[in-house]
Amino acid sequence: MLDFLKGPVQAVQDVFTLGGKAIGNVFRRPFYWSDMFVQMDIIGVGSLPIVILTGFFSGAVMALQMSNALATYGAKEQTGMVVSITLVRELGPALTSLMVAGRNASGMASELGSMKVTEQIDAMRALGTDPIQKLVTPRMLATAFTLPLLTVIADFVGIFGGYLVAISTLGITGPQFWTSAWQALDYSDIAQGLVKPFTFSFAISLIGCYYGLNTTGGTQGVGRATTQAVVVASVLIFVLTFFITKIFVGRVY
């Protein structure tokens, strides 16, 4: 039983050690600015289309689903409120992070994994560069900067999607929708909606880099590392969102 647990416990410890080193490197020279900007472009700008699409349709679907339920209570004009609260608190952060996990945790794991199996990581160390400082820290910071921004964009596009559905098919006027959407939001909702992607960003980048740097067994190993990174990062997002929501819900009510 203990042997069975040893692997996962060791992995958790290794991820935390990697995170500690990556954060420690933020304050050490040299800082690889150009690598960070390249990663911000790949993660941030590169993920924009997919994040906008998922945000838009999740908002639109939410408006369609909720309007039916709300109509039962004669509160169809509150659709804006439901859409904005679900998106800002939960769906925006979770869906955006899942999209970025699928795109970038896999990208990081496969890129670093390929470098590992072709001895590029060893070469980097042998040639005087710390792979964590050069590869992990820029990816971690780039994800931490861009994921909250992507979430804000997804939230807005999602509410806009809900608005289009509301005015075109539900017979709700624009001012009705936007007023209820706006008034429903509290500062704690915004905080929750930003704390979540910020936290998820570390799960995505560190899990992606961890599996990449620990790849063994050639190209097959790279494939395995990529799959594991996406699965673990995605599951972790759901686990973390539960605990963060619990903290915020417990605080407000």
Binding site: T118, E119, Q120, D122, A123, M124, A126, L127, G128, D130
Partner: protein
């Protein structure tokens, strides 16, 4: 004659992976100007020995001394200073596939935090190193545009661009055809001679060792020539590794006289389909 400076010393070094020793109680001393040919089958510990010498793998027990200094307690950052004096060619070349050939060769100079040369000097040294390996026209290419042998030569250029005291070659001819292998080994002989580098080569090909023990680069003629048998190759020794232990250590003539079937296996003449020796 003054005793030559110790370059690399292993004292009872053991390295294990999942309980299986990859290096088992290995001890040796390599002095300035020495050449060591490390023969061994796949999995015999050649690469692990190289990586342990570079501090990429930490030994479970024993001590590794580089330039006479014990490295047991060095942090990764302190190792960087030591590694600046070491050159390495990895088994697959270890080139960064997202960088150009010039950027690859310039990488150790660009990342020298202590005394980084000027951009002009870096470019010049990278160009010269590439010309040394006869790849002067590939500066703007990326590794995927080059053949396997060319990539290995770029790896040699990158290993020598910092003028290292000790150069480690991990299976420099693995997977290459005989002609390309000859080019690579001739380049190693040239590098060893021109820069007077202490050299360690892990290989499974006896021919590589035979060549390096018997031939040298003549600076004056620019050709590879047989060494003067009256002491010209005194520094070239053969080691044979078997399951992480030395199965043999000695000169080429001693190697050729050994009765150990494992060791003799490396010296069997190999023939092609026409029966010619390769």
């Amino acid at each position: 004659m003054a005793e030559r400076q110790p370059i690399l010393e292993f004292e009872n070094v053991t390295v294990s992976f999942a309980g299986t020793p990859a290096l088992d109680d290995i001890s040796f001393l390599v002095r300035e100007g020495d050449s060591r040919i490390i023969l061994g089958a796949a999995g015999s510990g050649k690469s692990v020995l190289m990586k342990t010498a570079l501090g990429l793998i930490k030994p479970d027990s024993g001590r590794v001394k580089v330039f006479g200094d014990d490295t047991s307690n060095l942090s990764e950052r302190q190792w960087f200073a030591v590694r600046r004096k070491l050159g390495v060619l990895f088994q697959e070349g270890g080139l960064f596939d997202s960088l150009t050939i010039e950027e690859n060769v310039a990488y150790p100079l660009e990342n020298n935090r202590v005394n980084k040369p000027s951009a002009r000097e870096i470019h010049e040294r990278a160009r010269k190193a590439l010309e040394f390996v006869e790849l002067g026209g590939t500066l703007d290419k990326v590794p995927s545009e080059l053949s396997g042998g060319m990539r290995r030569r770029v790896g040699i250029a990158r290993a020598m661009v910092t003028n290292p005291v000790l150069t480690l070659y991990d299976s420099p001819t693995a997977g290459l055809d005989p002609i390309t292998s000859y080019t690579i080994v001739a380049l190693i002989a040239k590098e060893r001679r021109v820069h007077n580098t202490t050299t360690m080569i892990a290989t499974h090909r006896y021919q590589d060792g035979h060549f390096l023990a018997n031939y040298t680069y003549n600076d004056a003629t620019g050709r590879i020539e047989p060494v003067n048998r009256d002491g010209g190759d005194a520094g070239t020794r053969f080691w044979v590794l078997r399951s992480g232990r030395f199965a043999f250590r000695g000169s080429q003539s001693e190697l050729e006289q050994t009765d150990d079937p494992y060791v003799r296996n490396f010296m069997k003449p190999r023939t092609d389909s026409d029966g010619k020796q390769i």
